[in-house]
Amino acid sequence: MSAEQLAGLSDLFVVAAVLLYVVSMVGFAMELAFGRFRPGKAAALGADAQRQAVKQPVAVGAAGSGGEGADASSAEQPGASEAAGQPRGAIRAGTVALALAWLGWAANLAAIVTRGLAVERWPWGNMYEFVVAICFAAVSAFLGTQLRHNVRFLGAFVMVTAALGLGLAVKFFYTAAGPVVPALNSYWIAIHVTAAIISSGLLTMAGVAGILYLIRGDGLSRLPTREDLERVAHRAIVFAFPLWTFAVIAGALWADRAWGRYWGWDPKEVWSFITWVAYAAYLHARVTAGWRGRAATIVQLVAFACLLFNLIGVNIFISGLHSYADVGN
C-alpha cells in the first residue's frame, strides 16, 4: 500500500473510532439511566457487612480451590458488589457498550498504526497526531482498568471525552501526513512523548472521575459512591504521577540534546512544571487532614485543567520552541 493510501485509511479509522465511541457512550449512558440508585455512602452497607463480604471469599478460597480468592478484591471494588442488583436490561446495554468501546479502541489503534506506517516515523509529531494518541491512551486506561476492576460507570464519560477529543482533532488540528521538522527527528520522541501520552490518558480518566465526584452529591444517585470515584481517581494518579515525572525529565534530556539546555522555561516547560506541581499538591492534599475528599478533588481538577491547557492551550495561544505548535499547518 502506498503512503497516501495508508494515510487515507488512517483518516477513515479515526472517523470509525469516533462513531464507535459515540454509540458505546449511548450504551453506557443507558446502563446508568436504567440502573439502580445507590446510596451516597458506602457506609450505608454497614461496616460489619462489608468486612464480612471481604472475608468470606478468602476463607472459601483458602479451604477449597483457591480460584475465587480474587473475588475478595472485587468485593471491595467500586460497584461490583452491587452489580447483581442491577436490572438485566441495564447490564446488557453496558456489556454491548463495552464491546463497542473495545472496537472503537481497535479502530483508534489502527488509525495510529496506519498513520505511523504512512509517515515512517513515530505517529505523534504534531497536535493532530498527539490528540489522537491521547484519546487512545485515555480509552486504554479505562479499558485496562476495567479488565481488573469494575469501572463501567465511567464508560459513558470516558467515551464522550474520547469522541470529543477525536472530533476536535479532526476538525481543528488536522494535519496531512508528512515528515516532521529535524528537531523532532529523534528517538526521544518515542520516549518523551509516549510517556506524556500514557500519563495524560490516565490523568484524563482521573479527571473524569473527579468531575463525576463533584456532580454527584452525597445523596442517592445512579452514579457510584464518592468514595469509589475518589479511589479510581487516586489510583490513576498514583500510576500517572511517576510517569509524568519521567515524561518531564525525558523532555529535559531531549531539550539538552536539541536546544542546548535541559531546562529553559519555554512555555511548554513552564506548564509541564505547573501541572507537575499541581498533581504533587493533590497527593499532599490527600494526606493532609481536612483536605481529603472534596478539597483534594478540586485540587485534582485544577491540576487536570493545567494539563489540558498545556496540551492544547499552550500550543494555540503561546508560541515557543515546541514544534507541535504548527496547528493545522
Binding site: V58, A62, G66, A70, G178, P179, P242, W265, A281, L283
Partner: protein, 520 residues
C-alpha cells in the same frame, strides 16, 4: 511518622510567650503539610506569568517590543520582575521557603525512618478476625513453619508464643525520603550550573572557524563564578553546511535535515577530527556542548570602488525575513571605498522567480536559483569610525542614513543578479558583484557542570517516587490455635491501597495453608 504527627501544630500561646516558643511555632508551621501544600500552590501560580509575559532570557526582542508599544505596562511588569519570573526575588522566596520546609520535613522523617528500619514488627493482636483482612483454615502449620514461609515471601518476621507477626513494604518510606531528597539535589545542581556554567552564541559562515574564547562570541552569558580563562580551549571550522528539504506534497519546503561538517581541534595542539553536527547530535568537548541552533545564507560580494580598486570582498550573513522561503535581507558595507564609502541593502532570493507584476520573489528555501536584488545603494560616511558599536545587519543608524546619498533606490531598482553577475553604480561610483553563495550556522555553546548531577538526581526522583507510590506497607499475622485451627489476619498501613492487598492476602493465605510440597 503519621500524618497527625506532622500535622501537630502547637500554638505558641500554649507553650508560653518566649522567643524560643515563637521560633519553634514558626518552624512547626513552616514544616507542616498544610504550609507545604500552600507553598506548592504558590509555586505553580507564580510560574504562570512566566509563560504569559515574555521573558528576557528567552525572548529579549519581545520584551523590547513591549517597551516600545506599551511603556507603562512594561514598567509595571518590570517593577514586579515579571520579565524574569524564574530569577525574581519573589519566586526565589517561594521556592526557598518550600525547600526549607522540605528540609524541615526530611530531617525528622529520616530519623524516624532509621528507627523504624530497625524496629521489629509488633506482636500479633489477640483477635485476628477483627482485622480488615482475615481468614482461617485447618492444618498442622506450626509457628516456625509459618515464619519460614513468610520469610520466603520476603517479610520481616518475629515470632512469639503461638503467633507470627510479619511486615513488608519498607521501601515505600525509602522511596518517599529519597524522592524529597532528590528534589533538593536537583535544585542544588541547577544552582551550581548557573554559578559555574556559561552559555554563548556565535554565527559561523562556511569556510570560517571559531575558537572558544570570550572575544569570539556574539553573545556570552557567564555564570558569576566563571573566569574567562576557564573556557575549554577547542576550535572548529565549518567546511560545509547542508540542508535538505521536502520537495513535494503538502509539506513542500519544510526542512528535513540540517548537517554541518566540522573540523574540530579539541585543544590547540590536538589532531584535527571530523564531526558532523546535526540538530539532536551536539558536539561535546570535555563537557562543553556545541549545538546547532540556526542557519541561513551568506552570499559573497565583491565591491569595486570608483577608483577601480576592490574595496570589499567576502561573505555577508543575511537575516532571514521570511522563513518558509528563506528570503533574506543583507547589508554590505565598504568603508574602504574611494572617493567615498559605499553601502548596499540587498535582498537574497534562494529560488528566485519573476512574478507577473515584474517583481521577484523566492519560491523555495533551497538555493535552486539564487539571485540577489539590490534594494538600495548609498555613498557617504557610514559613521563606522564614530566609535559607536554598530549592527552588521543594519547599514547605519537613522541619523546617519539621512546624510547618505542614494545612488540606487525605489523605482530604479534593477533586475536581480545571478551568481557571477555584477551591476555598475551610476555616476561611476563603483561596481557590485554577486560572486556566489555560502551558508551560515549559529551555534549555542554551553558548559553546565550541574547537568550530570541534575540528571542523576532526576533519575533517583523518578525511581523513588515510583517506589513510594506503588509499594504499600503491609502486615500479616498468624495465630496457631490449639486443635489445629490457623488464623491469619492482614492489614495495610497505606491509606487507599487496601483493594489491591486483598488479592495478595489471598495468595499469602494460600501459601500458608498449602502442604509442604506445594510451597515454592
Amino acid at each position: 511518622m503519621s500524618v497527625q504527627e506532622l500535622e501537630k501544630e502547637q500554638s505558641p500561646n500554649q507553650a508560653g510567650f518566649g522567643l524560643t516558643a515563637w521560633l519553634r511555632w514558626g518552624w512547626r508551621t513552616l514544616t507542616s503539610m498544610k504550609t507545604a501544600l500552600i507553598l506548592l500552590f504558590l509555586l505553580a501560580l507564580g510560574s504562570v506569568p512566566g509563560s504569559l509575559v515574555p521573558q528576557r532570557g528567552v525572548e529579549p526582542d519581545k520584551v523590547a517590543r513591549l517597551y516600545e508599544q506599551n511603556p507603562t505596562l512594561a514598567e509595571w511588569y518590570d517593577r514586579f520582575q515579571l520579565f524574569e519570573v524564574f530569577t525574581s526575588t519573589w519566586f526565589a522566596a517561594v521556592y526557598l521557603l518550600l525547600f526549607t520546609s522540605l528540609i524541615g520535613c526530611i530531617v525528622p522523617r529520616t530519623a524516624t525512618y532509621l528507627r523504624e528500619l530497625r524496629r521489629k514488627p509488633p506482636a500479633a493482636p489477640k483477635h485476628l478476625s477483627r482485622l480488615p483482612h482475615a481468614a482461617a483454615f485447618e492444618g498442622d502449620l506450626g509457628v516456625e513453619e509459618a515464619a519460614r514461609r513468610l520469610r520466603k515471601l520476603r517479610f520481616r518476621v518475629v515470632t512469639g508464643d503461638g503467633w507470627v507477626s510479619a511486615e513488608k513494604g519498607y521501601l515505600r518510606e525509602t522511596g518517599n525520603l529519597f524522592f524529597h531528597i532528590a528534589l533538593l539535589g536537583i535544585l542544588l545542581a541547577i544552582g551550581a550550573g548557573s554559578l559555574y556554567g556559561y552559555r554563548g552564541n556565535v554565527l559561523v559562515v562556511e569556510g570560517d572557524g571559531f575558537a572558544n574564547t570570550v572575544a569570539a562570541y556574539d553573545r556570552y552569558i557567564p555564570g558569576s563564578q566563571v573566569s574567562a580563562e576557564s573556557l575549554e580551549p577547542f576550535s572548529l571550522q565549518l567546511t560545509d553546511f547542508k540542508v535538505s528539504y521536502q520537495v513535494e506534497g503538502d509539506k513542500r519546503g519544510q526542512a528535513l535535515d540540517y548537517s554541518a561538517h566540522l573540523k574540530v581541534n579539541d585543544s590547540p595542539g590536538a589532531p584535527t577530527r571530523d564531526f558532523e553536527l546535526k540538530v539532536n547530535t551536539p558536539l561535546e568537548v570535555n563537557g562543553t556542548q556545541v549545538y546547532l541552533i540556526g542557519n541561513g545564507y551568506a552570499p559573497v560580494f565583491k565591491v569595486t570602488d570608483g577608483k577601480g580598486q576592490v574595496a570589499f570582498e567576502g561573505a555577508v550573513p543575511c537575516l532571514i525575513e521570511d522563513k518558509p522561503t528563506m528570503t533574506s535581507g543583507c547589508v554590505v558595507k565598504a568603508p574602504d571605498a574611494q572617493p567615498s564609502q559605499l553601502g548596499f541593502l540587498l535582498r537574497f532570493l534562494p529560488t528566485s522567480v519573476p512574478l507577473t507584476d515584474g517583481t521577484y520573489a523566492s519560491a523555495f528555501p533551497d538555493e535552486l536559483n539564487p539571485e540577489v536584488q539590490l534594494v538600495g545603494a548609498f555613498s557617504g560616511d557610514l559613521g563606522l569610525r564614530s566609535g559607536r558599536p554598530q549592527s552588521v545587519y543594519e547599514l547605519a543608524p537613522p541619523e546617519v542614513m539621512k546624510k547618505l546619498k542614494p545612488l540606487v533606490m525605489g523605482s530604479n531598482v534593477p533586475k536581480p543578479l545571478a551568481a557571477g553577475q555584477s551591476i555598475d553604480l551610476p555616476e561611476g561610483a563603483g561596481k557590485l558583484e554577486f560572486v556566489g553563495v555560502k551558508e551560515w550556522m549559529t551555534l549555542q555553546i554551553a558548559y553546565d557542570p550541574g547537568r550530570v548531577p541534575a540528571l542523576v538526581f532526576a533519575a533517583v526522583a523518578v525511581v523513588a517516587i515510583a517506589l513510594s507510590l506503588m509499594i504499600r506497607r503491609r502486615r500479616v499475622f498468624v495465630r496457631v490455635k490449639e486443635g489445629g485451627t490457623v488464623e491469619v489476619g492482614g492489614l495495610t498501613r497505606t491509606e487507599g491501597s487496601a483493594a489491591g492487598f486483598a488479592e495478595e492476602f489471598a495468595d499469602i493465605v494460600k501459601v500458608l495453608s498449602a502442604g509442604e510440597k506445594d510451597v515454592r
